[in-house]
């Protein structure tokens, strides 16, 4: 007994020794619930894969809360090594020069060559700078796609639409069959940002904002998007478009209940829908406008990227770089893809999933990545606008007024333009102060 105790305490001591010897790094993220479990499992696998570094992930709440926590910690000099920042917050962190070490530089310091061509087309530029250098490491990526209720389409005798023109042709049939033809789950993401990407229309001056915050203006009071929203309002009035408030889940519910024919949502939503939907469903690409020249290209990615915070010891940065390599390895990407529904960010991981026969079993898992692999064009690389969280809030505010009939399309878009540009100008002043 004593012998066993002694050997136990010795092994314990050895264990803690190795733990002490390892360099500790931290990762703050906004992945709750099941996603958080997968994050922890990835960290465990990383820690088990080598002995020099020990990674501790910490859940910090919603995306907004995680970014705010990271900023507050940075100001106090207590920042984590890795911070997860979502699409709408990327301008905030990328424009704060000196807050992060570009992911590409970090990897190259460790002798890892990062080749952007290894990444899926839609992922490549979203968190990169104007020259294409990766600033953030793409992590959980998704894109808005269209889910369709198979029963509804069969009953109406129609095929899922590829373009909005096709949708307008089938919407009366879907309505007559007793369904709400169309519902979406995130207006700024699906009906603004990815309107601009999918239809290849410029979203902001200064190369969609990539050339810097100074002088960047939103190009939202423009004919194409106003045309789209004039139609959306018309669809709402005709009973072709159902609107249940801003939050995604409130709009998802009627689709799950089988009342809706077409539902626009994240490519990662299929796993959850498979559990909650009361009817068989399939998925296809987000429709575009046939009337817009050059439309039908890939969409933007949503989700978030990982940023290596500056002000950390060289040994810790080395561990962060190692973790980034580990994370983008095909095996881990495939694991992440399978467990969460987010798309794999590298081509190698996509090939691995294909070879494994994953998409033969779950075809809906492939829709998002296929849409992101569509040919690219000039305006679907990404956008970079500061205070973008507030800009999204402005959009939502005006869209609700528009859909309720309290405001015209012209008035709504004029207000969005004025308020967004005021925010962009203010943001440019804050970043100018830091340079």
């Amino acid at each position: 007994m004593i012998k066993r105790l002694v050997s136990f305490s010795i092994s314990l001591a050895l264990l803690s020794n190795t733990a002490l010897a390892a360099t500790e790094i931290t990762w703050w993220h906004g992945m709750g619930g099941k996603l958080g479990d997968v994050v922890n499992e990835i960290a465990n696998r990383y820690n088990a894969s080598q002995a020099d570094c020990h990674l501790t992930p910490a859940f910090k709440g919603t995306y907004e809360e995680t970014l705010t926590a990271g900023i507050a910690a940075f100001r106090a000099g207590e920042q984590p090594n890795i911070l997860q920042v979502f699409d709408a917050g990327s301008a905030t962190i990328i424009n704060a020069k000196g807050a992060v070490i570009p992911a590409q530089d970090l990897l190259e310091q460790e002798g890892v060559k990062l080749n952007p061509d290894d990444y899926i087309d839609g992922v490549r530029n979203f968190y990169a700078d104007a020259s294409g250098k990766f600033i953030g490491m793409p992590f959980n990526s998704s894109s808005p796609i269209m889910y369709f209720n198979k029963e509804a389409l069969a009953k109406a005798g129609v095929e899922p639409p590829k373009t909005w023109e096709e949708f307008e042709a089938i919407a009366p049939k879907l309505k007559d069959a007793g369904y709400v033809p169309l519902v979406q789950s995130h207006m700024p993401w699906i009906f603004v940002e990815n309107f601009f990407s999918r239809n290849n229309v410029q979203f902001a001056s200064n190369d969609n904002g990539y050339k810097g915050a100074e002088g960047t203006k939103i190009l939202i009071n423009t004919p194409e998007i106003k045309m789209h929203w004039t139609h959306v309002k018309d669809w709402k009035d005709k009973g072709w478009f159902g609107f249940y408030g801003v939050p995604g889940p409130d709009n998802q519910k009627p689709f799950e209940e089988g009342k809706v024919a077409l539902f626009l949502a994240s490519s990662g939503a299929f796993g959850g829908l498979a559990k909650t939907a009361s009817m068989p469903f399939g998925s296809t690409f987000l429709p575009y406008w046939g009337s817009i020249k050059g439309a039908g290209v890939h969409s933007f990615i949503g989700g978030a990227a990982l940023f290596a915070m500056s002000g950390k010891a060289a040994a810790e940065n080395a561990c962060t770089a190692k973790f980034f390599s580990f994370l983008t390895s095909p095996e881990i990407q495939y694991y992440w893809h399978k467990e969460t529904g987010y798309v794999p960010v590298t081509k190698a991981a996509y090939e691995l999933a294909k070879a494994d026969g994953y998409y033969a079993k779950t075809p809906d898992a492939e829709t998002g990545i296929k849409q992101l692999s569509l040919p690219g064009a000039e305006w679907d690389k990404g956008y970079r606008m500061g205070f973008y969280v507030q800009i999204r809030d402005v959009m939502n505010r005006e869209f609700v007024k528009l859909l309720n009939g309290d405001e015209s399309v012209d008035a709504a878009f004029a207000t969005i333009e004025t308020d967004s540009n005021a925010l962009l100008e203010k943001f440019a002043k804050t970043t100018a102060a830091s340079n």
């Binding site: 919603t62 907004e64 809360e65 970014l67 705010t68 900023i71 940075f74 100001r75 905030t92 704060a96 020069k97 000196g98 807050a99 609107f243 249940y244 408030g245 801003v246 939050p247 409130d250 519910k253 009627p254 205070f387 969280v389 507030q390 809030d393 939502n396 505010r397 005006e398 869209f399 609700v400 007024k401 859909l403 309720n404 005021a422 925010l423 203010k426 002043k429 804050t430 970043t431 100018a432 102060a433 830091s434 340079n435």
Partner: protein, 293 residues
């Protein structure tokens, strides 16, 4: 009566020190910081800031959305304070007369106080859910097409109901103890003079409750203006959009959600001024009409 005197001039200050330290550390210093940063535009990461004078204030005061939030805050505060006070007073007066099962009755009313405002918001959000909320269905049965989160006024209605529900218990406790501290002799004398219990309430009981009532008014206004922040956040499901929001929620949304520190600080300075003005009004004008003993 013998006056108690401190022997040393310094003792009172030493005894005050812990309290003063807390006031300085947690109230005066942050307030000072807020005032300072309201004159600056600062990048979120703290790399630098630019002095912009009154620009942040000009931005707020030229924003129609800010005035919309201010107007909502005023109406919301009035409605919540009015209904929370009047309903709890009614409940307290009735509970005071209950003889059988009084404890059960009182406990049932009081327990709600243990529910934190965000939880109230959560329950409110569920009851008024646009798809599955029982209250929404009930409203539909009566021909009211209630859509919380889509219609501004429906959302405001749901928020007032949830906030009042949450605030009634504490008002109830205070009113009940206020009623019980009214001397029996006064009440008995009154019932000899006047047979109408309604008249007796307004001429005898209510004036004697005035000190409690005034205190509760202050507490309720503070609650509706500031403490309902969590309720607003949860009931709007973290999406301000076109929903009614209070000024305190707007400070949070712009500062913590939007990382606009200067603009958010300017808003909190405006709120500070409002609170200051409100305090003066309450104690100079309202309290004069309240009689203690």
């Amino acid at each position: 009566m013998k006056r108690v005197q401190f022997q040393s001039r310094w003792v009172p200050y030493v005894l005050l020190l812990p309290q003063l330290t807390i006031v300085c550390l947690f109230f005066l210093w942050p307030a000072g910081e807020a005032i300072r940063s309201s004159f600056y535009l600062e990048d979120p990461f703290g790399f630098g800031s630019t002095f912009v004078g009154l620009d942040n204030f000009k931005t707020i005061l030229s924003d129609p959305e800010y005035f919309k939030a201010a107007a909502f805050t005023a109406v919301f505060t009035f409605l919540v304070a009015f209904f929370a006070l009047s309903l709890s007073l009614l409940l307290a007066v009735k509970a005071d007369k209950v003889v059988k099962g009084a404890t059960v009755y009182k406990t049932l009313i009081i327990w709600v106080y243990a529910v934190a405002p965000p939880v109230t918001g959560l329950i409110g959000a569920m009851l008024f859910d646009v798809n599955i909320g029982p209250f929404t269905h009930l409203a539909h049965d009566f021909g009211w097409d209630m859509r919380v989160g889509v219609n501004y006024y429906d959302t405001a209605f749901a928020m007032v109901v949830a906030a009042v529900w949450n605030q009634i218990p504490i008002n109830f406790i205070y009113f009940l103890s206020g009623l019980q501290s009214i001397p029996k002799a006064v009440q008995e004398a009154a019932s000899i003079d006047c047979r109408s219990s309604f008249k007796r309430f307004w001429t005898v009981t209510f004036p004697l409750l005035a000190p409690t009532g005034f205190f509760m008014l202050v507490i309720n206004i503070t609650y509706a203006m500031f403490d309902t922040f969590g309720l607003v956040d949860v009931m709007t499901k973290n999406e301000p959009a076109n929903n009614p929001v209070t000024l305190v929620y707007k400070v949070y949304a712009d500062g913590f959600r939007g990382n606009d520190l200067g603009g958010s600080s300017a808003q909190s300075v405006v709120l500070m001024i409002v609170v200051f003005a409100l305090t003066i009004v309450q104690f100079r004008f309202v309290e004069r009409r309240v009689h203690y003993n």
